[in-house]
């Protein structure tokens, strides 16, 4: 399936609403193994996206993805600002060549990996993005796939990001960035974008 401007706006509005509603929960997840700001960071990002999309009314998919990316890059900060910002920037770039959902998400994932240097199994959002992209490519992305990927970060030991500082104590906690990435993809499905 291809990603349209309209679906993208619907998708991001959904994501922004969820992230805003889950702000406290996301920050709470970030407390035992991080610095307790993931919810605040993303809520700031969500507000910035809403603001930017409202003001700029992007003309096409590329413009929309770039607007989202710039809002994230310039308003979030922290690891997640750089990562989500980079992912959407890479999706924007790729969208000039293809609008295929799986390809766009794959471009986002490649950007994430370049920026953060993490691979799967390190208890980061890569552990959600990678299986989601794989499923999208296979044409069978479901909420089940997403939820399983999120839950799978729980027993992992973090070796990248702030959670790595607590070593073995990171085991047994969900990775906050994976949970928010889970919201991102669930909201995509909810917006009617299938892959």
């Amino acid at each position: 399936m291809t990603l349209t401007l309209e679906d993208t706006l619907k998708w991001l509005h959904g994501f922004d609403a969820t992230v805003t509603a889950q702000k406290a929960y996301l920050s709470e997840l970030d407390t035992p193994i991080g610095d307790g700001d993931h919810g605040n960071n993303l809520a700031r990002g969500a507000a910035a996206i809403e603001d930017a999309l409202g003001k700029q009314e992007p003309a096409d998919l590329t413009a929309a993805l770039k607007t989202i990316a710039m809002a994230l890059v310039s308003k979030v900060g922290g690891a997640s600002g750089a990562l989500y910002g980079t992912a959407f920037l890479e999706m924007a770039k790729a969208s000039r060549e293809t609008q295929e959902v799986a390809d766009l998400l794959a471009a986002g994932l490649a950007g994430l990996q370049k920026r953060g240097g993490a691979t799967t199994g390190e208890k980061t959002m890569i552990d959600v993005w990678a299986p989601v992209v794989a499923a999208a490519k296979a044409g069978n992305l479901t909420t089940q796939v997403i939820d399983d990927a999120v839950q799978a970060t729980k027993p992992m030991k973090a070796t990248k990001g702030r959670a790595s500082y607590v070593g073995d104590n990171s085991i047994g906690h969900l990775d906050p960035g994976s949970v928010s990435s889970g919201y991102l993809f669930s909201e995509m499905l909810k917006a009617g974008v299938t892959a």
Binding site: D35, N40, N41, V73, G77, G78, A82, T159, N169
Partner: protein, 334 residues
Amino acid sequence: MKKIMNDPQNIVPEMVAGLVQAYPQYVERLPETEALVRHDKASMAGKVGVISGGGSGHEPTHAGFVGAGMLSAAVAGQVFTSPTPDQLYAAIKAADHGKGVFMVIKNYSGDVMNFDMAKDMADLDDIKVKSIVVDDDIAVENSTYTQGRRGVAGTIFMHKIIGAAADQGASLDELEALAKKVMPNIKTIAVALSGATVPEVGKPGFDLADDEIEYGVGIHGEPGYRKEKLQPSKALVTELLGRLKDEFKYQAGDHFAVLINGMGATPLMEQYVFTNDALNQLAADDINVDFTKVGNYMTSLDMAGISLTLFKLEDDAWLKGLQYPVDTIAWTQK
């Protein structure tokens, strides 16, 4: 949570505005940013710019070290959140005077990525940018497979050394070489008596009982390696200095600089008591302490606690760098 503030969401811009209003002779704000550049432009001419930045909540770090002999510019992110690349990029541009810009980055994935992105932006302007990633916190296990160690109070010494060298005309490559040589010689470890409360969160990042302390905490509420009952200052020194000793494997006759850093809510009186015990122990080990600094330099909001940094002075020039004149809000010396 009891804090002197207005809307927690605006705490960083309001803080930056207060700083600039109080000390216009030191810092100027770049338009529409929380990036502050040195007021004394003449002191930067023809030299490599030095910038730093990171999440807020560590005051006087980083803006307090902007001035002749130290930083050219500093960027304040949200509380405990690395600044965004556009603001870092603005600081790079303001700090560049044709010789490039050196960035002092604390080793957090967010900081590293955002500074990287800013460098990418500066590349497009042909501004040469190099950097050091400070990772002095020995509480964290070191490994090339992980994020590695955190950057904490020792960052101040890096700012000072690099700032002094830049002021004396060192090139970007020379600064990079210097920073790389210095970095493994700076090591820090902390103990907390209470957690820090992020204004937007409203409760402490970790809780400690009324008689409990925690060794090895970070500067963002990252938990440490051990909780135990409150110990006398001498015992804290034994634990913290013991860990540093193990890391450095120091020998009688070695030369060190020492930074004793309050975490925000710890009075100077307690810091000096700890200083006394630390310096006594170092003297008993026949260590030469050539330079000492005590105070709140790399804080963690309202956390009570203290960190001990040792900087092994392998090169005489490093002591000279620490002693070199500097004129900033938080560190001034002739």
